[in-house]
Symmetry: C2
Subunit: 319 residues, 2 copies
Amino acid sequence: MRKRKMNLEEVLEKLKGKNVKRIGIQLPDGLKYKSEQIAEFFESKGYEVIISGSHCYGACDLDLDLLKEVDVLLHLAHTSIFELENVIYVPYYVDYDVEDFEDVEIEEKKIALIASAQYAWKLPEVKEFLESKGYEVELKTGSKRVKMPGQVLGCNYTVLRNSKAEAVLFVGDGLFHPIGAKIYSKKKVYRFCPLDKEFEEVKVDDFLKRRYLSISKALNAEKGAIIVSKKIGQKRLGLALSLKRKAKERGRSVEIIYLDDLSPQVLENFLYGYYVNTACPRISYDDIDLYSVPILTPQEFEITLGLRDWENYEVDEIL
Amino acid sequence: MRKRKMNLEEVLEKLKGKNVKRIGIQLPDGLKYKSEQIAEFFESKGYEVIISGSHCYGACDLDLDLLKEVDVLLHLAHTSIFELENVIYVPYYVDYDVEDFEDVEIEEKKIALIASAQYAWKLPEVKEFLESKGYEVELKTGSKRVKMPGQVLGCNYTVLRNSKAEAVLFVGDGLFHPIGAKIYSKKKVYRFCPLDKEFEEVKVDDFLKRRYLSISKALNAEKGAIIVSKKIGQKRLGLALSLKRKAKERGRSVEIIYLDDLSPQVLENFLYGYYVNTACPRISYDDIDLYSVPILTPQEFEITLGLRDWENYEVDEIL
């Protein structure tokens, strides 16, 4: 059963009483096809609408430029990271039946429950169901970047910090988050997707092999550059400056490049042999095949500098 | 003879006495390969450097976000449009010999002289040379967006406003500017490129045919959207709102999309049948083959709305 919820009527309620004439609408790329329908909904209620055309990868990626042009910015389909005046977050939830967890069989009895944002809202129910099956279930809150118990982001696994569980159960689609969770927690990680009912243990060997290859390539490359993002929730200039200083102390010279969206297109005119990405870690991990040069995480760059052992490989987090 | 000039020592002089620690460097895409060398030059003088990684298409496209992070922003290779505190423009000139104009033979005797920015600095010398050959030469200043006499931009032909000349001579590479000049002035336009010594009369029939095709396609498309750029020198939200209002009055509904760089990638998740581009006009004109849907100029959109006749086709300008 695949239901998705995004309640625009509720937004109308929130707008009432505010002196709002012009609304900005920001949607992740996967939902931009809905922009017409959503804009027409608010226009039919008398509001003026401007749609954000920029790519949008999360609540870390609020369109602050558009916010300056409108009375209220609706940021759709991501849970809040920054509570800003005049930004309304409109969550987008995937609905699913906890009964589907009937077939989830995990060898370990003490498990930590995690999920990506669209699935995390139902984790308390999942916990209850799994407990009724005899598991001991940990469902913890993380750093303030994640709002729901058990919620992980591509850059945040703090709900697993100091976990006492023997294994982790990730609820959601895709392999990206559970791979991060396994590297972060060093525990066995299982994944259950309520949409296609797929259940599997998550392996990270191939992922780590490819990361190691990138690190080796960067080690042999001439000059590199450290990428810093302009995005409110991805900007780590301090980290970049500190990495540059450490590199210099070790005889490696790197430049710092400041930009909005990191993409192969935006880099194609530069000639650096590798990049260190301090923006969204997902770009380094997920987009590896799009780039012809290594895109390292800060931790991987530390390995090339001899500041970290491969054995201490850590997933990049923004806290 | 192809020399190019960009004087960094002069920049050092300008920095002296200012309390500058951190410098931002912004280069057009075609010169980004020089970023390493330029950064190292300033670093060797004790400055901290951050390179702008965003695409850069002109002085209309100042990296104001980077400006917030640095003491001074060096904007390289474009002539100034906006005089902002802490922005230093570093021009980039192509050198050429006015004697090469010896072979330029123009039937008309009264000619207006124009050039793109990298060539315009030498127009007073070219004028003198052509006058010595018996031509009457007009070399006029334009709106404040263009700094040099005779200088045209892809979005500004005001140096040709009320021209009394019988024909126009464009100095520079590429066909983009002279095509714009011909549509703007409705005069005969010749082009001379001092680099390859190519001389030709410029034709616009094919260009206009393709524009007409785009307009027809847009007329038959369902819903469209008007693009507004965030860039300081390309932002025309007022124009977009006014076009939207006029469209509505004529029963055509359009949405407004706000973004930084207009590109096929950024539009690929939207489903609009055509776009009206109020950002850099060059995107509509030059990138026509990159897009699967029509990208109209504001004037072309007016044609689809019945607000302008095809006979009054005008090139889009930002004044």
